[in-house]
Each structure stands twice: as structure tokens, then as C-alpha cells.
Amino acid sequence: MLVLGATSSIAIATMRRLAAQNKRFMLVARNRDRLTAVAQDLVTRGAASVDTWAMDLDDTTAHGEMLAIAAERLGKIDLALIAHGVLGDQQAAEADFEIAAAVLHTNFISTVSLLTWLGNYFQAQHGGTLAVVSSVAGDRGRKSNYVYGASKGALNIFLEGLRNRIDRDGVQVLTIKPGFVATPMTAHVAHNALFATPDQVAIGILKAVDRRRDVAYVPWFWAWIMLLVRAIPGSRFKKMNM
């Protein structure tokens, strides 16, 4: 299993559930110390082997080398989980294009680079699962976080198109749409009853992988919430404070 953004809470929770099944892992993330800590944790929990690769995934020019090494070390990539991302500062991004562009680069452009390589790899292999952590925020443009939302919305469209291209080759392209999750990314906001733990999200992800789903809202009740949110007409939506 290849995990990009392997020190994210959702990635860690997902890998922990798989570690006991004697899986082999290749972890990629920016912070070397945290990578080592996560790798030790997975080995302790029963992972067959854990390789790590420290890099900033924003650097798309280094993706090819990293992915080639991952494929070589794992022998065969059966499952790739893309979980890196930033929430960004919406207000700062409203004032400064460079800040907005950085959010789009990390959440969308860098992911497109990974998906291009991995999509072709899986297509050639005639199988495998590409699981990508997107967000419910990509379903509508909300005034409170539309820059982040746009990066995830664009990602959703890209994933849909990629799926329509390579599903017929036996490749599962899974768009994961978590709602609010209690992680360091959301540590600064007050948590309400809708917040899920990373482990609840991990359970949803693994279930969706098992059932070869295309799109998974996690936890499941977000499918209903977003059905309602998507049903709000634009003329009403623009007057709401969401």
C-alpha cells in the first residue's frame, strides 16, 4: 500500500486498521521525524514492512522518482491512498491570490500530478485501487471556505473523469468525502456533534474500498446532509451564512 500524506490523521487511522493484516507499506510525507514515528507505530501493530520517503508533495518535479521507487520497493502497488492537503486561510486567500494559489497547488495540482502517474500505472497493471481524500466542501461553494472548496471540487471532477477512463481497466477510483473530522487540521475550530474521529473515517474508507464504491461520504450521514445542501437553490444559497 502506498500512502501519500502518510502523517495525516485520516491516513494513520486507515493504516492502523490494515497493519494488523500484515500489509506492506510505503509512506510519503514531509516531516521525517513524524514519518519515523508513524512507521514505528505500524511495525509495532503488525505491518509486514514499512518504507518511508520524506518529501514535500508540493514539489511535483520529484513525484516521478518517488513513485518509481515506491513501485519498486512494494513490488506491486495494490492500493494508493492520497491524503495530503491543507485547509488554508480563507480570509487571507481572499486578499492574496498567492495564498489561494498555494492551496490549489497542494490540494489539486500536486494531486493531479500523482493521479496522472498512478492512473497510468494502475491502468497498465489492469487493477488496483486509487483512494483519494477529498471533502464534502467540494460539493458547494460556501462563502466561508470556497478556496479550499474549489480545490476539492476540481479534484472531484478530475477523479470522476479519471474513473470514467480507467474503471473499464479494472481500476477503482474512489473519491472520499469526509465531513468534519477531529484532526490537527481542524484543531482551531470548536467541535460540534457532527465531528467524526479519524478512526470513524477510516472505517468508512475501508468499507468503500471493499465494496468498490466510486464516491463515499464518511461518515455515511454526510451523504444525506450534502443531498440537502446541494438541493438549496443558488438564489437562496448566496444569502445564507454558510
Binding site: S9, A37, V38, Q40, D41, T44, R45, P184
Partner: protein
């Protein structure tokens, strides 16, 4: 976790270091059962990991929702104190990060004085980053238990002293007066020595999604609960097998049970009284509670053993410990706590800082005369509301 009872972990106008993301395991030796993990790992997480592998916590408190760091800092104890001592006795090594950036590996041989000050040191000596926990082997999740009704403290002490089991504790009724005074149920048990299931049984937890109104918990409702609980056990004795979860963590089945106490919350009290020729001190404590009319849901009483802790400020001492909680009813509750503290002091006992919110400086210094030696090891950047109150730095 944010689930502490008192103010040992709080600091008014200070910065609180939360550790939920320090939840990684570092290593586990499947031969010896030695686990090394980060300090934010909870006992619940350790059990999820270790029980299926045939290992159990060396010491288990009444809830599994505590972190390893908190367990060391409060040098917690459990139902097996009389045979296993405190948690600190089973943490052969840990790392302490001081505010000047130094990282001290502490063990009985390496920085032994800091090791001793940090076990039960209420988090004041620095930041515990990781620790080793010596687990104990099990062959089954099941506990063989045996429970016995008793009336009166003498009967409780006799049952405790006669028990040969690894775990023992008693629930005691703090409402009943007259001929039912000090009635309770003595519960003992040990790990099933016959190989049995190790993997968990899926069972959803009950959660209280809201706070009950304060009037839900009054003398008659708790009295009724206690009578029911007492008579749940129809026969005087009962034996059987149970999963370890309900045996060790009955309240964890109701996540956020504290909300039963309503918005105003609850106060905890735990003290230990040393052995004396009779149980007069404990009788006085119970009388003070029953006559106060402040209902206590569950009061727990247990005999501590004489295994001493490596911790300088550790709470347990040989004798009888009583732990209970009651709702905050303004002055009445605090008046009662003052009475209980005075009785504890009179009989040479001590109170447990981890469960305290109002211990006076004078009482603290009487309970822990070694406090000045301990203060030398406090990290200059660390403090707590509790410490400011009892050390007179407030």
C-alpha cells in the same frame, strides 16, 4: 483527554499541553510484554492492541480513558493494588522533556531522583513524552469473579483480608442509614486461567447525548439506585465469568456518564486512612456523608496493600481507601469536603490530589510532608492551579 476530576491538570491563565496526537506505539516485545509508547496513548488504546495478543495492563483504574502520561503523573492504582502496587511500579523507563529543552530518560538507574519525583509528580516536573509499560500475560478476556454482600465495615475488612484474588474492590452505599449502614457488595476476581477468547465482542456503547437536569440526581433517586444495585444481587454470594470490560470499567459503558450530574458537575473525593485498631475513622467519614444528605452514586472502598511505589508523591499507603463523587450543590458540597478532609487528617490519612478540587494548603502539607523535597524537581515553566493553591504560590 480532558477527563480529569480536579485541578492538578489545570492552570488558570496558563497554557495547557494536550497530547491526543502523541498516540503512537513505539515498540512491543511479544516475548516479555514490554510496551513502549508515546505518552498520549490511552489505556483503552493499549487494551485494544494488547489483549488480542494475550497481554493486559499491569494496573487498571476504574476507567480506561486515561493516558499513559496521566497514569504516571498521578501514579494511579487499581483493584490489584494489594498485589501489584501502583502504575509507576510497572513503568521501568520514560522520557521527560524539560522546558529548557533537555530530554531526560528516567528509570530506577538513570536519573533516579527525577524518575521518583515524576511518578505521582502531578505533571509538574516536565513533559512526559514516551514511556515503557510492563504488561502482564493473559490467556482469556474473561474474568472469574465472585461477589458477596456485606453490612458494616468490619465485615468488609474481614472479606478483604480473607481474599486471595488478584483483584478486589467493594461498592458501598453512602445513603443507607440505621441497620443498613455501610452495606455494600464486595467484588473479587482474577483472570481466567483457562484459554478463552481474546478478541473483542462488538457491542455499541450507550452515550448520554445531553446533561440531565440537576434534579435528576437527588437523595431519593440515588437511594433507589443503590437499593436496586444492592438487591440486583439477590443471593448473598454470586460467582461467574464476565468479560474484563464490565468488570474493570462499568462506567465506561456509558460514555460521558459525568453528564448525569448536570451542568454544575461533580466533585470527587478520595482518601486513604492507615490501618488502626478499629474502623472508627472510616465510620466517621461514612457518617458524615450519609448525614449530609448529599447523594453519592457509587462509593468505592478498597484495601490498599503495602507494596510501596517508586513515586515520591504517590498517594496510596497501607490502609483503607474510600472514593466517591457527589453533585455540586454550592456551599453544602464544599462544607462536606472540608469535614471529610478534617476527618482524614485527624486519622493520619491523606487525600488524592488527582481527584481533588479544594484541598487546603495546610492539609496538603500534612498529607505530603515530603512536598518541599519534591518542589526542587518542579520544572520552572510548569505549574497547576492545584499546586498554586497547596504550595501557597497562588
Amino acid at each position: 483527554m480532558g477527563r480529569s476530576y480536579g485541578d492538578v491538570c489545570l492552570l488558570q491563565n496558563g497554557t495547557l499541553l494536550r497530547t491526543p496526537n502523541l498516540d503512537r506505539l513505539i515498540s512491543f516485545d511479544a516475548q516479555t510484554g514490554l510496551l513502549r509508547c508515546e505518552a498520549g496513548v490511552t489505556l483503552a488504546q493499549i487494551l485494544d492492541f494488547a489483549v488480542p495478543r494475550g497481554w493486559f495492563l499491569p494496573v487498571s483504574p476504574g476507567t480506561k480513558y486515561v493516558t499513559v502520561g496521566g497514569a504516571i503523573a498521578n501514579d494511579i492504582h487499581g483493584k490489584n493494588h494489594h498485589v501489584a502496587g501502583t502504575f509507576g511500579l510497572h513503568t521501568p523507563c520514560f522520557e521527560l522533556i524539560r522546558s529548557d529543552g533537555t530530554q531526560l530518560v528516567c528509570s530506577p538507574t538513570e536519573n533516579p531522583d527525577v524518575y521518583s519525583a515524576t511518578i505521582g509528580g502531578m505533571g509538574l516536573t516536565g513533559f512526559i513524552s514516551w514511556a515503557e509499560v510492563q504488561m502482564r500475560p493473559i490467556v482469556s478476556r474473561r474474568i472469574r469473579y465472585h461477589s458477596t454482600q456485606f453490612v458494616g465495615l468490619e465485615e468488609f475488612v474481614a472479606l478483604s483480608q480473607a481474599s486471595t484474588q488478584e483483584y478486589s474492590v467493594a461498592w458501598i452505599d453512602c445513603v443507607a442509614q440505621g441497620r443498613n449502614f455501610a452495606r455494600g457488595i464486595f467484588i473479587q476476581g482474577e483472570h481466567d486461567e483457562n484459554p478463552g477468547p481474546l478478541t473483542p465482542l462488538a457491542k455499541p456503547k450507550l452515550t448520554l447525548p445531553f446533561d440531565l437536569p440537576a434534579f435528576a440526581l437527588n437523595r431519593s433517586s440515588v437511594g433507589a439506585f443503590n437499593t436496586l444495585y444492592y438487591h440486583k444481587q439477590i443471593s448473598k454470594q454470586r460467582s461467574g465469568f464476565t468479560d474484563y470490560e464490565p468488570f474493570f470499567y462499568p462506567l465506561d459503558r456509558i460514555l460521558q456518564w459525568n453528564r448525569l450530574y448536570g451542568e454544575q458537575g461533580l466533585l470527587q473525593f478520595q482518601c486513604v486512612l492507615p490501618w488502626a485498631i478499629n474502623t472508627m475513622g472510616m465510620t466517621q467519614l461514612l457518617k458524615a456523608i450519609t448525614t449530609s444528605g448529599l447523594a453519592s452514586f457509587l462509593a468505592v472502598i478498597k484495601v490498599f496493600g503495602d507494596i510501596s511505589s517508586p513515586g515520591m508523591m504517590s498517594f496510596p499507603m497501607p490502609g483503607i481507601t474510600l472514593a466517591l463523587d457527589f453533585p455540586i450543590r454550592r456551599e453544602v458540597s464544599f462544607d462536606l469536603l472540608d469535614r471529610l478532609a478534617a476527618i482524614t487528617a485527624e486519622f493520619g490519612g491523606r487525600m488524592y490530589p488527582a481527584k481533588d478540587a479544594c484541598m487546603s494548603a495546610a492539609h496538603f502539607r500534612q498529607f505530603y510532608p515530603q512536598w518541599e523535597q519534591f518542589a526542587v524537581y518542579i520544572d520552572p515553566s510548569f505549574s497547576s492551579s492545584f499546586w498554586q493553591r497547596v504550595a501557597g504560590l497562588g
